[in-house]
């Protein structure tokens, strides 16, 4: 018998087998009450598994989109939080320190994605996928929920270049505890998640495990962004403390970030310029 004829007979047998089984199963389901309920339960279970599996696959394939949505939502919530913090600070100043104005500035938050980042140099940098056309300006900060990532240095139409916190030339004004001493935070130059908080006066008490926050004294980063946890400390030159900080952010796994721009930054810099001229 030719091979093709044999194959077609086999296929026909399989088709007839499937048809007959389906026909018998339908008869079973319609005539046996118990079998009908059981068949319905089985089909629900199979459908749930099939739909559940395809839903999991669809969810996995749409993770990028989900992440983008979450990053946008994060930026929006940071915006709202910034507004509430400004209102709270204003309320406190009104009730406790009448006559003294507090410059908190206004911050605008935009989501962005890091498309390139270097980690193995002493002067590391990053590039994000937002630029002039997205409203990004130089000297904007880059943050995540886990800390400060860096500062935008140069902006093109669609991309921006920034200096990473893992850069010996970058420091962040930080406070140990919410109302503790303020000093500059520098990268330790060796690891992906450690920094050093310098110039903390000796008279200020702190403990290992205290959280380090942004102070809000820079014109770039808002206050109270958590940066890390204080570790061991040592006295330098007999005058100040240097504290090791374990950062919350791990720079090996960065992707979705938030660009923070201080709208009042130009005004602050102008004021500083006027003040410097007057003192001269």
């Amino acid at each position: 018998m030719p091979k093709e004829r044999k194959t077609s007979i086999v296929l026909l047998s399989i088709a007839i087998f499937i048809l007959m089984e389906i026909a018998s199963f339908c008869m079973l389901r319609n005539n046996g009450e118990l079998q009908g309920i059981w068949a319905a339960r089985m089909s629900h279970a199979v459908m749930a598994k099939a739909w559940g599996g395809s839903e999991n696959l669809r969810h996995y394939l749409s993770l990028n989109k989900e992440n983008e949505i979450l990053a946008n939502e994060n930026a929006r919530l940071n915006q709202i939080l910034g507004q509430y913090q400004a209102v709270e600070a204003q309320r406190r100043s009104d009730s406790l320190t009448a006559g003294i104005s507090l410059a908190t500035g206004d911050y605008v938050f935009s989501p962005a994605t890091i498309i390139k980042i270097s980690r193995n140099k002493q002067h590391n940098y990053f590039i994000i996928n937002k630029g002039l056309e997205d409203g990004i300006r130089p000297q904007s900060g880059i943050i995540t929920n886990n800390g400060v990532i860096g500062i935008i240095d140069a902006v093109d139409k669609h991309y921006s270049y920034g200096l990473s916190f893992m850069n010996s030339g970058v420091s962040v004004s930080s406070r140990i505890g919410k109302e503790g001493a303020v000093g500059p935070l520098f990268w330790d130059g060796r690891s992906f998640d450690k920094a050093v908080l310098k110039e903390i006066p000796l008279q200020y008490k702190f403990a290992s495990g205290d959280t380090v926050w942004t102070s809000g004294y820079s014109a770039i980063f808002p206050a109270d962004i958590p940066l890390g946890v204080a570790g061991e400390s040592r006295i330098v030159n007999g005058a100040v403390n240097e504290i090791e900080v374990q950062l919350f952010e791990n720079f090996t796994a960065l992707r979705y970030v938030t660009v923070v721009e201080n709208i009042g930054r130009d005004e602050i810099i102008n004021l500083e310029g006027i003040e410097n001229q007057d003192s001269k």
């Binding site: 089984e21 026909a23 018998s24 046996g32 339960r41």
Partner: protein, 171 residues
């Protein structure tokens, strides 16, 4: 003449199966069925498609005239017909198809015949008990029912394979 003999015997055994289902209730653990051996002993010259159609029709006949759950015997018997040639090929060898001879105890021995009957009975009983129980009975009950029915079915099928065999009726 051989063909007429086979189908006459087949028809009579079908009636016997219907009588078993309606009147012979030995135990909850015993489901007696001779349908698988009837399909197994179908002459070799009849192909898989014919065997499946015969299995479907005879299964439905038994369902309509006895069981009460229409479709259960047909559903369980059609896979036996589908796998019939593969089982024969595996147990008796492919020279049977080349020589176009039918299987029988006299020619192939009781051992091979028993193995073939166990194979077809197992396929039938697994599906039958699974559908009949509809996930309401515990595993141990179904397992006990399977083994007891398999032994009972094997003994009865061995006895009935002689009248069904066309080789044993050569002139």
């Amino acid at each position: 003449m051989k063909r007429n003999h086979y189908f006459l015997t087949f028809f009579l055994l079908l009636i016997l199966q219907i009588l078993f289902c309606n009147y012979l209730h030995l135990s909850l653990y015993v489901s007696l069925s001779i349908l698988p051996v009837m399909i197994l002993m179908l002459p070799i010259r009849f192909g898989t498609i014919f065997a499946m159609v015969l299995a479907f029709v005879s299964g439905l006949c038994v369902d309509f005239l006895s069981e009460g759950i229409i479709g259960i015997n047909a559903f369980s018997l059609v896979p036996v017909a589908f796998l019939r040639t593969s089982i024969i090929d595996l147990i008796f060898g492919d020279e049977i198809f080349a020589r176009k001879e039918d299987i029988s105890i006299r020619k192939h021995g009781i051992v091979k015949m028993s193995v073939a009957i166990i194979a077809v009975q197992s396929i039938f009983l697994l599906l039958y008990i699974w559908i009949d129980g509809a996930s309401t009975r515990p595993f141990w009950f179904n397992a006990a029912r399977f083994f007891v029915s398999l032994v009972a079915g094997l003994l009865l099928s061995l006895a009935l394979s002689k009248p069904l065999s066309t080789n044993d009726h050569d002139l």
